[in-house]
């Protein structure tokens, strides 16, 4: 148990580090970073450069993959632009193998020390600084974790060496293939197993051929790691993970093809090329490792279209992922602020028209299979978050006064829309409980139909150019507090035997009905700026 403690600690620190990096990097990714990522991702060779650099800096394709998954899942980066970046990060992590052994403890210590001081002395009060500190802390934990993982795997390595198993294994390629795969699975890193192959070759335990089999196995093991990662995700996140599996398989396919040619020609092509590049055996092994990554990444880049088509079939997006994707928030449109603001308005209209479907789960009259309210709520939150982020990006540019005002109104409308999604989900939950009793159930059903009609009217008003539609919806969305109180009192008076649960649910449902109508009124007012100030100050009165 004691022997595996460092390994497990390293694993925990690694996961913490990856989480900190991705959760802080996503909000930190302002317009400039995202623009850089999208510009770099637009051309494959730029994605290759950026991915390789990311691999060199982080020395962890898992971390780069997780960050890209986070950015794509958060709607901040388009999958097609970003999917090659983790693929080329594998090339960057070859630096580890090429350097044979890199001690990250120093770098990790400095990172943790700096971020710890920043947190303790309160340097992270500003949002951007806090996210940056969080990212650096995550990197520090990640490096510390990787270091502990590698050192934690040493007892196993030492055992293999001491028992002479390594020497026997050198004569059994399939065994070495399996060993490399096993080590890669254990250490969560093909470059660790690659470094072991380098160390083993320099210690004379394996020759170049044996080291090559270790490297091939290590990469296949890494592919298996990504296959397992893909199982824990769905849709685009799974596709990104599966692309890494494709990279490993592509590299192995290239190696197999070369071996076939070697059989036919009787010449050792890979080993000859490695020997020509470096006189040292350990560096020859490192070059083979690099070659494997380059081969796999190049094949994936060359065939990215067909591979992506296969991946999209293998891991289709979930309903939630499809619903969470904005339809109008186009990155390229940010160069034209007025047009970009219009696009946000269209996105808002789309969400408003989708809002009534949140009630379909409690309506007998709903068409088709209703999408559960929690799914729509989560999807709505994702889209409003993307709207808010897009508006922030617009705001970073130079806007005239009118556009700046439009941005501010849209920011409030997006927040309002998110609140409506939250309240509607709670309203649906309350109605479901209220239906457990006939009298409260009848009231719940009436409120559901009324709210559905009101939300439809709001959606129509958002898209209508007719001022009469907007006047109508404002007249419908008066305060409901007195009406709801009358309904509550009447139902309780007529049915004093109502059990506590439906009674509480009825109370909650009526309160939430009031809240949703109030929020809808806020949206309607914010939709009509020239009438907003007049309506706001006029008495709204009860609608019933």
């Amino acid at each position: 148990m004691q022997a595996v403690a460092p390994f497990l600690t390293g694993l925990g620190l690694f996961f913490c580090g990856v989480h900190f990096v991705s959760s802080n990097l996503v909000p930190l990714a302002g317009r400039r970073f995202r623009a850089l990522l999208t510009r770099l991702g637009r051309r494959p060779w730029l994605a290759a450069l950026f991915g390789s650099l990311a691999g060199v800096v982080t020395q962890s394709t898992n971390a780069v993959t997780s960050v890209i998954i986070g950015l794509v899942s958060g709607g901040l980066v388009d999958k097609r632009r970003a999917i090659l970046i983790p693929t080329w990060a594998h090339v960057g992590t070859s630096v580890l193998v090429i350097l044979v052994a890199v001690d990250f403890r120093v770098a990790a210590s400095y990172l943790v020390a700096i971020t710890g001081c920043a947190v303790y002395f309160g340097f992270d009060r500003n949002d951007r600084v806090r996210y940056a500190v969080g990212t650096l802390l995550g990197l520090g934990l990640l490096f510390l974790g990787m270091t502990m993982l590698k050192s934690g795997a040493e007892p196993l390595r030492d055992y293999l060496v001491a028992e002479g198993l390594m020497a026997s294994a050198a004569k059994a390629p399939l065994f070495l293939l399996g060993l490399g795969a096993g080590l890669s699975l254990l250490c969560q890193s093909s470059s660790v197993a690659g470094a072991l192959a380098v160390a083993g070759s320099s210690a004379g335990l394996v020759d170049l051929s044996g080291a090559c089999w270790l490297i091939y196995g290590a990469n296949l093991g890494s592919g298996a790691n990504y296959a397992l990662l893909a199982k824990t995700h769905r849709g685009e996140a799974a596709q990104i993970a599966l692309m890494q599996v494709a990279q490993k398989l592509a590299g192995f396919t290239v190696v197999l093809l070369i071996m076939l040619v070697e059989r036919v020609t009787g010449r050792l092509l890979i080993e000859s090329a490695a020997a020509a590049l470096s006189p040292s055996l350990s560096h020859e092994v490192a070059w083979v490792f690099l070659f494997y990554q380059l081969a796999g990444s190049t094949v994936c880049t060359a065939f990215v279209g067909p591979i992506l088509t296969l991946l999209e079939r293998a891991a289709p997006p979930s309903n939630l992922q499809e619903l969470s994707k904005p339809a109008y928030l186009i990155e390229d449109a940010l160069v034209e602020p007025s047009f970009a603001i219009e696009l946000v308005g269209r996105e808002e209209q789309r969400l408003l028209q989708r809002l009534p479907t949140m009630l379909d789960g409690v309506r007998a009259d709903a068409e088709g299979e209703p999408i559960p309210a929690p799914v729509l709520r989560t999807a709505g939150a994702a889209v409003t978050r993307a709207m808010a982020s897009y508006l922030e990006s617009i705001n970073e540019g130079s806007l005239d006064r009118a556009d700046r005002e439009r941005v501010v109104r849209l920011q409030h409308r997006a927040a309002n829309l998110n609140a409506m999604h939250e309240s509607l989900e709670e309203f649906v939950s309350a109605c479901l409980v209220a239906r457990q009793w006939p009298s409260s159930g009848r009231v719940a059903d009436q409120m559901v139909e009324s709210l559905h009609a009101l939300l439809f009217a709001l959606g129509d008003a958002a898209t209508s150019a007719d001022p009469a539609d907007q006047e109508l919806v404002l007249s419908l969305l008066g305060h409901r507090d007195e009406m709801m109180e009358r309904i509550r009192q009447r139902v309780l008076r007529e049915d004093p035997n109502m059990p506590p649960n439906p009674q509480e649910a009825l109370f909650a449902a009526t309160m939430l009905f009031e809240r949703v109508v109030w929020l809808a009124r806020r949206s309607a007012i914010l939709l009509t700026p020239e009438r907003g100030s007049a309506r706001n100050s006029a008495a709204t009165g009860s609608a019933g």
Partner: protein
């Protein structure tokens, strides 16, 4: 949903019996649209309507807006308590003019 129309004169009297849900709304949509375009006033006898869904309300609102643009009125006559509550809770009581009594002679 069953619909009966008495459209002699400037006021049409539409008698509805059944549920004004999706399928019921399909039955009344075209007649209501036609009558609201051609008549000054509409009286919808709701005594026989047992349930009104959101889509039914929307058709009634469309008809009310259409006659309203010509200075006329749409009246919901004798809706039951449940139907009246849905209309009131939706804030439509002023637009849809709930009344109780006998239908006007055309």
């Amino acid at each position: 949903m069953q619909i009966d129309i008495n459209d002699a004169g400037s006021t049409a009297i539409v008698t509805l019996v059944g549920r004004l849900d999706i399928s019921g709304a399909d039955v009344v949509a075209l007649p209501l649209a036609t009558l609201s375009g051609s008549k000054n006033n509409l009286v919808i006898d709701m005594a026989g309507v047992t349930f009104v869904a959101s889509i039914g309300l929307r058709h009634l609102v469309q008809a009310a807006k259409a006659v309203g643009r010509k200075g006329g009125r749409l009246v919901l006559l004798n809706p039951n308590t449940a139907v009246a509550e849905v209309v009131t809770t939706s804030g439509l009581a002023e637009l849809l003019n709930i009344e109780h009594g006998s239908a006007p002679q055309s």
